[in-house]
């Protein structure tokens, strides 16, 4: 089985090839190159380094979000189109779960964080080792998240390049229960996207057409529109 993994949900980019449970090549970077320019060449590059052609792939795993709307869509569009035209299955993996998987050996609570701007985050809480979701992926204000985490009253390991943006706040709220992963675990990795992907049953090839990103947030215009509808009902 040859897997291609794609992760473009936030600023970092990662692409990997895993063959029969072994990592063949992985590219991980955290530079401000747009994914639209960088992602497809990165896929070409890891395939070339692995000595493979697109047609050699058996399955694709993609980080399906949440994260930057555009970032998520670029990875999903590439993955969808490749999987459909190659007629191979496409597996979607939570960007937060894949990030938490970096710290999989930590036998405690893991909280992956992506900045969603204006003091908001995409986040979740995963149990280490099993990667079971204790708090599902969601969009939250950092203050609401920290209140929820404080109620858990347990040590929590925070992962992600964006943790630094909130670290003072986190320590203030959680004190000695706040732990920060070493920087080397902060970048999402396509190998983890693949590893998490291997745990699920492979979808049918026909399902690819219906694959959609997991934004975990409705579009602002739609939220406003729904609010207006509700207000109209009340009138």
């Amino acid at each position: 089985m040859i897997w291609l993994g794609i992760e473009t949900a936030n600023t970092p980019l990662s692409v990997a090839i895993v063959r029969d449970g072994k990592v063949v090549a992985e590219l991980v970077q955290n530079i401000k190159l747009t994914h639209s320019a960088g992602a497809m060449p990165a896929i070409e590059e890891v395939l070339a380094r692995a000595g493979l052609k697109a047609g050699d792939l058996d399955v694709i795993a993609v980080s399906e979000g949440p994260g930057s709307y555009t970032g998520v869509r670029i990875g999903v569009t590439l993955a969808k189109t490749l999987a459909w035209t190659l007629q191979i299955p496409l597996v979607g993996v939570s960007s937060l779960k894949a990030l938490a998987a970096n710290a999989t050996l930590y036998n405690g609570l893991i909280c992956p964080i992506f900045d969603a701007r204006r003091d908001n985050v995409y986040t979740a809480v995963y149990q280490g080792v099993t990667l079971e979701a204790l708090v599902e992926d969601h969009h939250a204000h950092i203050a609401d998240l920290l209140e929820r985490l404080r109620a858990l009253d347990a040590p929590i390991l925070f992962v992600g390049t964006d943790v630094g943006l909130f670290w003072d706040n986190i320590v203030e709220e959680l004190g000695d229960n706040a732990f920060r992963a070493p920087f080397s675990l902060d970048l999402p990795r396509a190998t983890e996207v693949i590893r998490v992907g291997t745990k699920v049953e492979l979808p049918s090839v026909e399902a690819t057409h219906h694959f959609v990103p997991q934004y975990k947030r409705i579009a602002e215009a739609e939220a406003n529109w729904l609010k207006e509808q509700k207000e109209k009902e009340h009138e």
């Binding site: 960088g38 060449p41 869509r73 590439l78 490749l82 990103p213 579009a219």
Partner: protein, 343 residues
């Protein structure tokens, strides 16, 4: 990426610059083998206009189905194709990126070259799907985002000799439609109302400087708004049909007169109209009439090829492909892309 020769003359074209997810297969630059358009208009209607984020979300939902449908209708497989063409800009960046990344992934997986096409070049080349383009040529591009007179000496040569200084014609149509409480997009509704019996409300024509080929429609739009405002204040009801008629007459008179003057000055062999507003019945009739009198062949594509579609992108890509122009896997969306000559 792929052999750079044409075997079957078949291009798969993809367009996603605004609110249509579209794919088409074009043979030899002029023959439509298939042409699939998934419109999102219904979804945007409730917002009264295209919402970029919603547009991007729909594109990602639709894109592979639309491409598959284009191949299925053409009864072709990826191996039959010679190249992939995609709209590179201008347009909504998030929307463009879906078509571009799908095109890159498809081209890479199937070892095909890729060509990035300018959306307005696409609108102009929609005409190549109807009859051969004859140069020198004058194109009146009237769409939701553009109003331009483009002079073409030959294939791939574009000189914008006039353009709007404010609103595009389609934008003016849509804004006036909103004033009249017509559904989005308003162009076709105004066009329909303008053809009803009755008087027209007189509105000004904006000519700008005597020798200018530029356009301006925001003053006309304001005149309509002021008219409605004054009538409202007087407690009088307006006749939407009379307003539509007056507005449309003003737009058509200016577009027609400037196009005719440019066609004479540049001594063109052919005049073509392109873009969504070229679907306008009144404009078509007006241009057909003056150019028949003038003795210059005038063409406008069928309605389906006036609004956004991928067939036009495939038509524009063919001469680009033949001129050796290629994109690569780094292709990015270019929301403000300029119409540049490729020769």
């Amino acid at each position: 990426m792929g052999e750079f020769i044409m075997n079957n003359g078949l291009i798969l074209a993809i367009e996603s610059s605004c609110d249509e997810t579209a794919a088409a297969i074009i043979r030899n630059g002029h023959e439509i083998v298939s042409n699939v358009v998934a419109s999102q208009i219904e979804s945007h209607k409730r917002f009264g206009g295209v919402v970029p984020e919603i547009a991007s979300r729909h594109h990602v939902e639709q894109i592979t189905m639309v491409i598959e449908e284009a191949l299925a209708q053409a009864n072709l497989k990826p191996v039959d194709l010679d190249a992939v063409a995609v709209t590179e800009g201008p347009g909504l960046v998030g929307a463009l990126l879906i078509g571009i990344n799908a095109a890159k992934a498809f081209a890479f997986a199937n070892n095909l070259p890729i060509v990035g096409v300018h959306h307005i070049a696409g609108h102009i080349y929609a005409n190549a799907l109807v009859q051969p383009m004859e140069f020198p040529l004058l194109a009146l591009v009237v769409s939701g985002g553009h109003t331009e007179l483009v002079y073409m000496k030959e294939h791939g040569s574009f000189e914008v000799i006039g353009e709007t200084r404010d609103d595009a014609a389609g934008e003016a149509y849509d804004k006036v439609a909103r004033v009249l409480n017509l559904p989005y997009p308003g162009g076709p509704h105004i066009d329909r109302l303008a053809h009803e019996e009755g008087e027209a409300v007189p509105f000004p024509r904006v000519w700008l400087e005597e020798d200018s080929y530029d356009f301006s429609f925001s003053g006309l739009k304001s005149a309509v708004i002021n008219y409605k405002h004054n009538m409202d204040q007087r407690g009088e009801a307006i006749s939407p049909a009379a307003v539509a008629k007056g507005f449309q007459e003003s737009v058509i008179e200016v577009l027609t007169a400037k196009t005719l003057r440019a066609a004479r000055e540049y001594q063109v062999k052919q005049v073509i109209a392109a873009g969504g507003v070229a679907a306008n019945k009144g404009l078509r009739i007006s241009l057909e009439t003056v150019f028949e009198e003038e003795g210059i062949p005038f063409f406008v594509p069928p309605l389906k090829l006036c609004t956004d579609n991928a067939a036009m992108i495939g038509a524009a890509a063919m001469p680009m492909f033949e001129a050796g122009i290629r994109g690569n896997l780094m292709m990015n969306g270019r929301p403000g892309m300029e119409l540049k000559s490729w020769v």
